[in-house]
């Protein structure tokens, strides 16, 4: 995406909440809720790829599914091309479904083993269009060409294909109705390294060819750096940081983003020896019982008193760079960050200092 052009917002998500009830006790009463997604806001511009990263259980997949209204959302607004679909009925939603599609993680589980490839790819056409059989088959062939599947395989079954090819079938199905927006939920996580690159290149080619907009959900930070224009980092149901790709990877502001990025092993032994990792202590708290104050306060290496009391506000701290962290509240922290940004990538030593100062404050 060329910078400078006024971006057209295709998807707008405002304060989206997705809580799942927990029933318990003798009477199976509602005793609590899992706050899988707890108030996230973001926009996706037309033609861009927004990466959504985070660890398992942080709510990134739930968020993707809630945006497509595969759930009854608890609260918040989801606007697709300006229309708020958050409280639409299933009937009403059916009309906008063709616009928004999904590619799932596990191509084995998301393809019906008893249907041929042609019928899998053609099913959305059966559901949403009234094309003749011949037109449908032509469309299926066309889609198979687009995703690099041999037309001769149209009558085969999913088990006859490898993982990478199955993912191509899933992508062809998602493309069948000319969608504008596709949620890719960990589309490469189940694939081998050499096949991942093939699928990612295909997704990029298709984006260019059909002008698609992606929400790319992944835990693979290096792949997200490759494919995304902007990146949102989730932790325990909330977005902790959202920024343009280079800003996020080169100067992450939130301590969680910093730890997450530093934890990625580099395929380079000399670099690996120099990297000072930020090792987080402990595990992610339960989303049924998130800590008071900042969600990350139980593991944050720079935690302050205020973090355990008040939840930090999610706000724009630099143009296009959003974060929710008390370190960004006051003047001193911002200056400190300024120094780090000036020096480019904050050096490990600086990080150490920061963390100590953070503890002192």
């Amino acid at each position: 995406m060329p910078d400078g052009t006024p971006p057209n917002k295709l998807v707008e998500v405002y304060d989206l909440k997705m809580h799942f009830p927990i029933y318990g006790g003798v009477l199976r009463r509602r005793v609590g809720e899992v706050k899988a997604v707890d108030g996230v806001s973001f926009d996706i511009h037309e033609g861009e790829t927004l990466g959504l990263v985070g660890e398992s259980g942080c709510g990134k997949s739930t968020c993707g599914r809630a945006v497509l209204r595969l759930y009854e959302v608890t609260d918040g607004a989801v606007k697709i091309e300006g229309e708020n679909i958050a409280d639409w009925s299933a009937e009403h939603l059916r009309k906008v479904r063709p616009k928004m599609q999904m590619v799932f993680q596990d191509p084995q589980a998301s393809l019906n083993p008893r249907m041929t490839v042609a019928s899998i790819i053609g099913e959305p056409l059966d559901e949403h269009t009234r094309q003749s059989k011949k037109d449908k088959l032509n469309r299926v062939y066309h889609l198979m060409d687009a995703v690099g599947l041999n037309r001769d395989f149209a009558n085969r079954y999913p088990h006859e294909f490898s993982g990478g090819q199955r993912q191509r079938i899933g992508i062809a199905r998602a493309l069948a109705l000319n969608p504008r927006f596709i949620v890719c939920d960990e589309p490469i996580a189940a694939l081998d390294v050499s096949i991942q690159a093939q699928v990612v290149n295909l997704l990029e080619d298709l984006q260019e060819e059909f002008g698609l907009t992606y929400l790319f959900i992944s835990h693979d930070l290096s792949m997200v750096r490759h494919i995304a224009d902007r990146v949102a980092v989730m932790y325990l149901g909330k977005i902790v940081e959202l920024a343009p790709r280079d800003a996020l990877y080169d100067s992450p502001l939130h301590p969680y983003t910093q730890a997450l990025l530093s934890a990625v092993p580099e395929p380079d032994p000399s670099l690996e020896a120099r990297t000072e990792r930020i090792i987080l202590k402990g595990d992610v708290p339960s989303p049924a019982n998130p800590p008071k104050g900042c969600n990350f306060c139980t593991r944050c290496p720079q935690v302050m008193d205020i973090c355990r009391q008040t939840e930090p506000e999610y706000r724009e701290v630099a143009p296009g760079h959003f974060t929710a962290c008390h370190l960004q509240d006051g003047q001193p922290q911002q200056q400190q960050q300024q120094q780090a940004t000036d020096a480019g990538q904050p050096a490990p030593a600086q990080r150490q200092e920061q963390s100590q100062q953070g503890e002192d404050t």
Binding site: D192, L221, R225, H226, A259, S270
Partner: protein, 334 residues
């Protein structure tokens, strides 16, 4: 790594075949390697490359049928493990050779407490009584960094998080002070921040305990950080083998070179397009008569179709099973 030391484990010419209804699958083809005391040998490869099957073959963990270890020698101390009887193997497995598997949930028994599962090898292999075993179990949980170890012994596996379960698995594997630890994708099911914790733990434990480790993974980043030596496997064979810095700095086999190219970088320039390895991994339905990588290789020539390249020495402690020479861009003299 000091050279000339006697290896703790010496594998020669290992061949493993699976018999299926559709014919044979030649999963491991003439794999030879050794493991020196105290070193960490990384094994890299994609699914189906034979890396797990190789290690499972060593200690008779593959169900037979369908698996059949057809040929080879596995020298461990005075024993050839492939010829050893089940009793000898049982005394070695879990005691002198420890294991950590990918998925800690399926490799722990959900109906026994973690303490029970930790004490089992201690009592069976080391003959400790209940009290001594419990004390040792608590010590082990502390060693792998599980807080409040004494109380957690009474907990069941589902009461632990993924990272903690993997720590329990490591504790079980270390219970009897093994000489060799085989870790099969031990961090693949974990999140990156938890993976970083486990990698840090393993580095620490190596210094403390000094056992030799075989670490199987598909993640080149993980290998770069912890291995001393690396073997790259493809199509049931070792295609390249070198010390870790040499392998990443001077890869010789086209597969290794391509694999390194497919991983997008976390720093520095971002390539507009990912480099790919076209095609699919080979079907291993017959003993290899040609290079397994030839169909996907951008440098293959006529000889690759005719012969399966042997492991050719290409530098100090460095060999590659390839007829192509990246330095000259032409065939290698061999």
């Amino acid at each position: 790594m000091p050279d000339g030391q006697l290896p703790v484990l010496d594998v020669r010419d290992l061949k493993t075949v699976f018999r299926t209804r559709r014919g044979e699958v030649h999963a491991v083809n003439s794999v030879s390697f050794d493991l020196k005391p105290g070193e960490l040998l990384g094994v890299v490869g994609e699914s189906g490359s034979g890396k797990s099957v190789t290690m499972m073959s060593l200690i008779g963990l593959l169900p037979s049928p369908p698996a059949e270890v057809r040929d080879g020698q596995v020298l461990f101390g005075d024993n050839d493990l492939l010829k050893a009887d089940e009793d000898t193997l049982r005394a070695i497995r879990g005691a002198r050779i420890g294991f950590v598997f990918q998925d800690p949930m399926t490799s722990l028994n959900p109906v026994f407490t973690v303490g029970y599962q930790l004490m089992e090898p201690l009592r069976k292999h080391m003959g400790l009584n209940k009290k001594a075993a419990r004390a040792r179990a608590q010590e082990l949980l502390e060693l792998v960094g599980i807080p409040d170890a004494g109380r957690r012994l009474k907990d069941y596996p589902h009461q632990f998080s993924g990272g903690m379960r993997q720590r329990v698995m490591i504790a079980i594997a270390l219970a009897c002070d093994p000489e060799v630890l085989i870790a099969d994708e031990p961090t693949t099911a974990l999140d990156v921040t938890i993976q970083a914790q486990i990698l840090e733990l393993v580095k620490e434990l190596r210094q403390k305990l000094g056992m030799a480790i075989v670490w199987i993974t598909h993640d080149l980043g993980v290998i770069a950080g912890i291995a001393d030596r690396v073997m790259v496997m493809y199509g049931g064979q070792i295609v390249e083998h070198a010390p870790v810095k040499e392998l990443f700095g001077n890869p010789q086999h086209p597969y290794t070179r391509a694999l390194l190219g497919t991983v997008p970088a976390m720093h520095g320039t971002r390539e507009a397009r990912l480099r790919v390895i076209e095609g699919q991994p080979p079907v291993l339905d017959a003993p290899p008569a040609a290079c397994p990588f030839r169909a996907r290789c951008t440098h293959s020539f006529e000889r690759c179709e005719r012969e399966n390249p042997p492991r050719i020495p290409v530098g100090p402690l460095h060999d590659a099973a390839c007829f192509w020479n990246p330095a000259t861009g032409g065939p290698r003299d061999a």
